[in-house]
Each structure stands twice: as structure tokens, then as C-alpha cells.
């Protein structure tokens, strides 16, 4: 197994199943909601959703992490707040995490 160009039936089936499930997620929420005329309530909800989604992604990941993750996240936030540049934030955060990791 694990040749270069080989395609195994079971593997292709698993990949296809993952692809269909993921596309259903990407398109499903949109198809379900597009028929609704968004009310004031729904508009306020959708406007707040992106930030809430990323907070819900980040907070438990940090809670499960250690000093490396906390220092890296703090450095990322500080750099983006100071420069407005997300790439510098990623570099500063990962660099800080690396320093903390090396110093352990």
C-alpha cells in the first residue's frame, strides 16, 4: 500500500463520503435559511455570529492548552492590535509559542 498513484476502492469511498458530508455542511445552512426573510432579530444574530463562532473555537482550545498557547495567543492579539496585520500576528504568536516551548 501507500504507493504514489494508487487508488484503493475503500479509500476513495471514504474520501467521497467525507467530501459529500463536508459539502452538505457548507451548502446546507445556506440552503435552509435562504428562503427566510431575515427579521431584525435574525439580522442581529447573523451579524454577531462570526465573532461568536471564532471565540467558541478559540476559548476551549486555549483552556486545554498550556503556557505555550496562552503566550502565543496573547502575542498574536497584541501584534494584530498594534499593526492591523494578521500575518505579523501569526508570525509573532507562533514565534512566541516556539520560544516558550524551547524554554520549558
Amino acid at each position: 500500500m501507500a504507493g504514489m498513484m494508487g487508488l484503493e476502492g475503500a479509500t476513495v469511498a471514504a474520501i467521497a463520503a467525507m467530501a459529500v458530508a463536508t459539502y452538505a455542511c457548507r451548502a446546507g445552512g445556506y440552503w435552509l435559511l435562504r428562503r427566510l426573510h431575515p427579521s431584525r432579530f435574525l439580522r442581529a444574530m447573523l451579524a454577531a455570529l462570526p465573532g461568536a463562532l471564532f471565540i467558541a473555537f478559540v476559548v476551549p482550545a486555549l483552556a486545554a492548552g498550556g503556557a505555550m498557547q496562552w503566550a502565543g495567543a496573547a502575542a498574536t492579539l497584541a501584534m494584530v492590535a498594534a499593526t492591523g496585520n494578521v500575518a505579523l500576528g501569526i508570525i509573532a504568536g507562533t514565534g512566541t509559542a516556539w520560544v516558550v516551548w524551547a524554554l520549558r
Binding site: 501507500a2 504514489m4 471514504a14 445556506y30 465573532g51 461568536a52 494578521v86 507562533t94
Partner: protein
């Protein structure tokens, strides 16, 4: 926000090559954060016996790193079917929340443009597009371009990881993998809309923490936190 502009005066949503290029340029920097993540997925594919062709196929068609890692960690030979299917659905369900937010752009797209743009929705292209919408952007090509740049770099990084998998292996806790989380954290700063975000963000964080504790090992906490936080904003009223 978009709510403040009179609907009749709003210029129509368009889909142009200039918009695609703009989105690609904006996403180019975020590919730095995605690259180590893509490498890790490629290495994991090698370790679990996927061929190069199978690795490329998975990364092109699924294009959702966390769900791929979850599925690959439980891979066996011959490949399982139900495990990867459930992993893809459970981990990627958060994407179902992104479509409705992007609806003002998606509604105006037809045919292949709509189908392809939906496939290219990931955390980063979603966040960049929301910011572009908040600035009054009306070119849906932006979403397509940002997603395309991330998709291409994802394919490149995961392919390199698959090829290098036997040669170099980073331990799971290596700080390079923190870049993926840093890429998400970095987007929080531009997404902050001021004090009105305090309530939804605090609610989202607390609910996500609680659900993560109750149901560890799934990613329901992301959906629960996002819905609770945005529900709090909706109940408070205003935009």
C-alpha cells in the same frame, strides 16, 4: 453594518476577476498559518497508508483540515467508511452557520460560481469575507478568490507533507502547529465590532467551555457557543 444602508440604493452584488484577485491577495498572508496544518495532514496521510493520489484527492475534495485529522487518526486498512463520514459531518457542521451570513453574496451567484464558491468556504475565507462585507464590499468574487488562495496553498502544503512524511516528522505538540490556532486568533481583532460584541463573545466563550467539558472529543462546543453568543445578541436587539 449593511443594515444601515437603504436597500434600494445598494449597488448590486457582482462577481469579477478583480474581486477574485483582491480576495486572493487578502488571503495570501493567512496561508502562512495554514501551511503547518497542511503539512501535518499530509504527514498523517503518509503514516496511515494513503497514496499520493489519494492524499491529493482528499485535500482537494474535503478541504477541511481538522475533520481530516480526526478521520485520519482513526484510519485503518482497508479504509473505514462510517468513522470518516461522521467525523466530517460533526467537525464541519460549524460551516453550516457560515452560509447564512454570506447569503447576501451567495444569493446573487448562479451555476458553477455558486457551487464552487460554497466549496471554498473555510474559516479564514469566511472571516475575511465578513470583514469585506462590513466595509461595504459587493464583489462576491472576493470570497471565491480568498477560498481559492487557501485551497491552492492547502493542496501544496499537504502534498509536501505527504512526500516528506517518511523523512521528517514533527511531534504532535510542536509549536509550528500553533500557527493554525494563531491564524484564527489573529482574526478576532478585526472581527471585534466594539462594546456591543462583549455580550455575545462572553456568552459564546462560556457556553463553548461548558459544552467542551460535557462532550469532550467532539466539536459541538463550537456550534453551541456560536449559537448561544449570537442568540444573546439577537435577543438584546439592535444590530
Amino acid at each position: 453594518m449593511a443594515e444601515t444602508e437603504p436597500p434600494a440604493a445598494a449597488p448590486p452584488v457582482i462577481f469579477t476577476a478583480a474581486g477574485i484577485r483582491h480576495g486572493m491577495r487578502r488571503a495570501a498572508w493567512l496561508t502562512i498559518g495554514m501551511a503547518p496544518f497542511g503539512l501535518a495532514v499530509g504527514m498523517l496521510s503518509e503514516r496511515h497508508g494513503l497514496s499520493l493520489a489519494e492524499t491529493v484527492l482528499m485535500n482537494a475534495l474535503v478541504f477541511a483540515g481538522t475533520s481530516q485529522i480526526v478521520a485520519l487518526e482513526h484510519w485503518s486498512h482497508p479504509a473505514p467508511l462510517i468513522g470518516p463520514l461522521v467525523a466530517a459531518f460533526a467537525v464541519n457542521l460549524r460551516m453550516a452557520l457560515m452560509g447564512p451570513v454570506l447569503a447576501p453574496w451567495l444569493d446573487r451567484l448562479q451555476g458553477w460560481r455558486k457551487l464552487a464558491t460554497l466549496h471554498l468556504v473555510v474559516d479564514h475565507s469566511f472571516a475575511l469575507s465578513v470583514l469585506e462585507m462590513q466595509r461595504g464590499g459587493r464583489d462576491a468574487g472576493f470570497l471565491f478568490g480568498a477560498g481559492l488562495a487557501l485551497w491552492l496553498s492547502w493542496l501544496a502544503a499537504s502534498t509536501v507533507g505527504r512526500l516528506a512524511g517518511g523523512v521528517l516528522a514533527l511531534p504532535a505538540g510542536h509549536p509550528l502547529f500553533f500557527a493554525a490556532l494563531a491564524a484564527i486568533v489573529s482574526l478576532l481583532v478585526p472581527l471585534w465590532r466594539g462594546r456591543r460584541d462583549l455580550l455575545p463573545w462572553v456568552v459564546a466563550g462560556i457556553v463553548a467551555l461548558l459544552v467542551a467539558r460535557v462532550a469532550p472529543g467532539s466539536s459541538w462546543y463550537i456550534i453551541a457557543g456560536a449559537l448561544a453568543g449570537s442568540l444573546a445578541a439577537g435577543l438584546r436587539g439592535g444590530a
